[in-house]
Each structure stands twice: as C-alpha cells, then as structure tokens.
C-alpha cells in the first residue's frame, strides 16, 4: 500500500479509537453462545432414535427366538398344548389322544388335514402322495427357520419333556429322538429317519440347536403372516445429488447474474491483475441416505413403511482465495500461480418418510417390490456457499429448512428364504419445494438418484 504520511496518520489515529459498547451487547452475545446449537440437538435426537430402533429390533429378534407360541392357524401342526386340551381330546379330526403326559397320534393325513385313521388309510394315501413325514421339534424353536415341507407333512411341536406316542407303539420326544427304538446318533439331522419300522412314515428331525421355522407355506406366504406385525429394518442408499429446477434435477440453469444475490461488480478501469472468474454454479456430487424403518402389511400385497432417515447431499464449487475467515472465498484467482480450491457443500437432513411398498411377482422366483411415497425432512446443517459480488460465503438463513420430497423405486428381493432378506434396486428422491428462493440454489430442488438397499428382520410367529 501507499505509505504516505496521510495514511500513516489515519491508521495511527484509528488505532487509538475505542468506543465502549452498551451492556446489552454482551448480554446478547452471552445468550447466543450459551444457547445450545439446535443442529446438535437434532443430531442427538437422531442418534437416540436410531439407537432406540436398533435396540428394539434386537429385543424383538431375541424375543422371537424364545417365543413358545406356535401358530394356531397352521393346520398341520400338532401342538402339545392343544392335544392335551379337553377339546382336542374329543376332536375326531385331530386324531390325538392324551395319555397322561404322552400323546398318541394316528399318522393319517390328507392334504394337510390330520385325519383320524389307520395304517391302511395311510398306506392308501401314500400310493398317490409322497410318504408323509412327521417333523418333530421343540416348541421353543419352531417357526424360526423355513424348511421345505410337503403338503401332507405333519409337524409336531412339543414342549420340552413331552413325548408323542406313535400308532406303531414308538414314542418321540421334543428332540425328535425315537425313544427305545434308535439311538439319537443314528438319526440323520434334517433327513428322513432310516430304519424306522413303518417305512410309510418318515421322521424328519430338526436339529434342536438351530432356530427353525416350520411351515408348508412359501416364504412369501410366511412373510405375509408375519407381516401382520411391524417388521423393523434398515436401509442404505448411495447415489448422486441431483440439483436442478426440473424433475430429477434436470434444467434450471441460471445466468451468473441470477445466481448472485447481487450483481457482481464490474471490472473496469485500469486493471493491473485481471482476475480470472470461475462459474459459481455448484456441481452435483455424492449423496447418501441411511435410516431405520418399520413396515406393516396393510393389504394383501401392500405394506406401509415408516422410518427415520439421515440424508446427505453434496455439491462442489470451485472457489478462489480464502479471505481469512470462515467460509469466505473469492471466486477468482488473481495471479497465475494460484489455483482454485474445490469446496464441498454439504447438506445434512433428517427425514421422516412415509412409503407404500407394493409386492409384485409373488409367485415368481424373483420377487419385486415397488416403493412409492413422500418424506418430510429438515435441514440440520450445511456449510454450503452462497455467492454475492464475486465472493462466496456461508449463510444458511437463505434455505427453506423444511423440505417435502417424493420418493420411490423398484427393488429385487434377494435371500428371500433367509431370516434377513435383502432388497436392492434403483431409487429416486425429488424435493418438491425450492431449496432457496435466491442465490446459487435459488429455485432449485434437491434430488437423489442411486441404489437403495434395504434389510428387514423377519418377525415370524
């Protein structure tokens, strides 16, 4: 700078000047620095909700493992409690008689119905149908694992210590061991028992230590039954931010003057170092959505999905030199030796989505889900830059902090027979309202396009 006498005196005199501020200034400063950052409160709230849902999901999962209640709707399951009940005693269809703690069952069955009968009927039935199998398991472990069953299989769920006496005089207990007939070690776990006297009867022993679900219904049907209750799950989506005025962020290109909060200053006069400007338009970059959700069946093939998501969007800006404080940058570099910096504009949202999941191709090998819905989200924080008069700066007061988005996608279900089926497929999310009314993001909508993965914990009964 020109170090004339005049400038020196001005600087010296100005450095001497002190003005005592009003007491109210400190009071306001104190209030503002004491005030807890609302963004932190949102982050803690989100963390608490996430933790709560995870703990809840784990608790439900553990509860299900130890659930002792068989499904009374399943016709071909023999319940130890049912067989000992007075109603069951006289039920001719059920063909089960109580003998103290032991029960006897006539193993004749037709199309999933247990019918009181005799060996002749069983043999007659066996001519047309595959040999019926008796599947014995402890009540404590049933319904935890899907196993393939035939329509005429009989499933017996017994309490620990309870024994089922077969019509051939043999007995079987809840471990599936045939008492006094064959030592347990000779029974093949998961396979029809060999060397059993009555060859028309196969006994399938389910390994007790493995949690299991027994049903003759397809996995989808089992899931339908279980979906009468809320199922917990989590989702993760990765993709790209779509910033624009049109659908999926297409269009809405603006001129430099439109993007600036004020027209940039003109550069005239004798210019010694002509500044090089870069277009301040933000470029789309990474986007992530992660969350927890709960789904419930509301009709034959439609589920309601509610949840809470953390959404992250990002864009990039080329900025010039840092101006010494916070997020203040010029959009020019003034000498050829300097280069532009890349600033990542981060947007952190908390979202409450309401989605409808429609199951399609239920009877096909590959199940597909179509998901559509909307989400209400709140901007937690952002370091995004605004632009004015050749300078970038951060000011989140411009943003519409509450956003409504439409979202949806299609997903294929993988591992549908497992306890934790995974759905994966393309997903889009489109903000219905403007991010801001002016500036770089003026009239633009935030969108997402990417791949969504979702896992639900089956809650089977």
């Amino acid at each position: 700078m020109d170090e004339n006498k005049f400038e020196k005196q001005v600087r010296q005199k100005m450095d001497e000047l002190k003005i005592q501020p009003a007491e109210s200034v400190w009071e306001n400063v104190e209030k503002r620095i004491q005030k807890k950052d609302p963004r932190k409160r949102f982050v803690w709230l989100f963390a608490a909700l996430f933790l709560g849902l995870m703990v809840g999901g784990f608790y439900l999962s553990v509860q299900n493992k130890h659930s002792a209640n068989p499904n009374p709707d399943t016709q071909n399951i023999i319940d130890g409690n049912d067989v000992s009940s007075p109603g069951a005693k006289n039920d001719t269809k059920n063909s089960v008689r109580e003998e103290g703690k032991k029960s006897t069952i006539d193993l004749a069955k037709n199309n999933g119905n247990i019918v009181k009968g005799n060996q002749d009927k069983l043999k007659e039935s066996s001519k047309n149908n595959p040999a019926p199998r008796l599947i014995v398991m402890s009540k404590n472990y049933q319904y935890k694992k899907i196993i393939e069953t035939e329509s005429n299989d009989i499933i017996a769920a017994l309490d620990d210590g309870e024994t089922l006496k077969l019509s051939n005089g043999k007995s079987v207990n809840s471990t599936g061991v045939l008492e006094n007939t064959l030592p347990a070690k000779e029974l093949n776990i998961g396979q029809p028992a060999k060397n059993f006297e009555d060859s028309s009867l196969n006994i399938l022993i389910e390994k007790r230590t493995e949690p299991e679900i027994v049903s003759n219904k397809s996995p989808t049907e089992v899931l339908k039954k279980s979906s009468k209750k809320w199922l917990l799950g989590f989702n993760f989506s990765v993709g790209k931010t779509q910033l624009g005025a049109g659908l999926l962020g297409i269009g809405g290109e603006k001129s430099l003057a439109d993007m600036s909060l004020n027209s940039p200053g003109n550069s005239g006069g004798p210019i010694t170092n002509p500044p090089v400007y870069k277009d301040p338009t933000p470029r789309n970059d990474l986007a992530l959505i992660v969350g927890v959700s709960a789904q419930k069946k509301i009709s034959k093939n439609t589920s309601l999905v509610l949840g809470i998501n953390y959404k992250y969007f990002s864009t990039l800006n080329d900025v010039g030199s840092w101006l010494g404080y916070g997020n203040y940058y010029s959009n020019q570099f003034v000498t050829s030796s300097q280069s532009f910096l890349v600033h990542r504009n981060n947007f952190h949202f908390l979202e409450a989505p309401v989605l409808f999941k429609i199951e399609t191709r239920q009877n096909k090998k590959l199940h597909l889900n179509v998901v559509v819905g909307a989400g209400l989200s709140r901007l937690l924080s952002s370091n995004s830059l605004q632009y004015q008069q050749g300078m970038f700066f951060n000011d989140n007061s411009f943003f519409n902090k509450t956003q409504i988005a439409l979202e949806g996608g299609v997903s294929a279900i993988l591992f549908s027979k497992k306890s934790y089926p995974v759905s994966i497929g393309p997903y889009v999310n489109y903000g219905l309202n403007n991010l801001t009314g002016k500036g770089l993001y003026g009239g633009k909508h935030l969108g997402f396009i990417g791949i969504r993965t979702e896992v639900f914990f089956k809650n089977k009964k």
Binding site: F6, V10, K13, K18, I19, G269, Q388, Q389
Partner: protein, 189 residues
C-alpha cells in the same frame, strides 16, 4: 497484551469459563466497536456487527492457532462481519454496487491530519458507503487493492479508483468543511 496471556485467556474461554469469555470481550470490545462503527452509518448497526462478530469469535475460537496476535485475528473477523453486514443489509446494498470509474489523476496531496481520532472517524463515516468501505480496508486495515478486489468482488483497478476518490473527498472536507457543518452526531441514536 502478552502472547502468553492471550493463550491462557483463549484456553479458559475454550473450557467454557464465563469469566474468561467476559474478560476477552471486555478487553477487545471497545477497539472492535470502533472498527465496526467505522464501516457503518450508525451505532446500532455497529453494535449489531459487534455482537455477530463476537459470537463468531467464541464459536470459532478453537481455530485460533496462536500464531498471530489475538487482537488481529478478532479484528479480521470484525472486518469480514462488517462487509457481510453491508452486503446483506438493504440500507447499504445499493451503495455497495461499485461503479467503474476510470482513474484519471491521483492526488499527490499528503496533508497533516489535524483532527482527533473521533473526529476523523466521524468524517470517514460521512463518505458514501462504497468509498467508506474501500478507504477503511486500504488506509486503516492495510489491505492491498488486489485483496480488496477479491473481498468485494471488484477489480483492483476499481478499488484503486474508489480509494483515491474517497481520499480526495476526505482531504477536501478536512480542508474546506468544518466538522460542525458535516453535522455527524457521534454517539447512539
């Protein structure tokens, strides 16, 4: 203030000690209010900037690395907060649209400044906002015209032109117009 003292003061502020925060504020607020006052047209605006500036100071104190002087660091925050305030405030926005005027002749006057600090500050505040801003940034804060150009989004030539016009006007006022005629009232509304 000794560097070590400011180090301890910052450390205590970062621990959330209220007395230390109050101490830091009391130590620097009179000087900083004078800085903010010089960029604005009234005391209310200056105090608003001071308030915003100190909130930024306390929220970003962890970024102060102790390499320079604490006062200089706070002052830089106050100057930047003042510039933002001017750009965002409707009252000042229009005056912050710098017109390009060719720089014809540069005054070589280098007069003695006979005014005291308050009087000079008052006179600077009477300049049009654009002149006032560029004059403060160059003559008082010591930024180069290239730096000012980057800060205000104008060319360094425009900054230079604005500065010399402000300087000439100020010298003219000092020569020809008495402070009473200018009528600037120092103090709050």
């Amino acid at each position: 203030m000794q560097k070590e003292d400011s180090y301890h003061l910052v450390k205590d502020c970062l621990k959330g000690k209220r007395e230390a925060q109050r101490g830091l504020y009391e130590l620097f607020s009179p000087t900083m209010l004078a800085v903010c006052f010089r960029y604005t047209k009234n005391m209310d605006d200056a105090e608003n900037i001071l308030q915003d500036g100190f909130v930024k100071v306390f929220n970003n104190l962890h970024q102060f690395r102790g390499e320079g002087e604490l006062g200089a660091w706070i002052r830089r925050i106050m100057v930047n907060t003042s510039l933002t305030y001017l750009k965002m405030n409707r009252k000042y926005q229009h005056d912050m649209l710098f017109e390009d005027t060719p720089l014809h002749s540069v005054s070589t006057d280098d007069p003695e400044v006979a005014l005291n600090a308050k009087e000079l500050s008052e006179l600077i505040r009477q300049l049009p906002t654009g002149f006032q801003t560029v004059f403060n940034l160059h003559a008082v804060e010591g930024y180069s015209h290239v730096e000012i150009g980057a800060m205000l989004g104008i060319s360094d030539g425009t900054s230079r032109s604005q500065y010399y016009r402000a300087r000439a006007l100020l010298i003219d006022w000092m020569d020809k117009i008495s402070l009473k005629e200018i009528g600037g009232q120092y103090g709050r509304k």
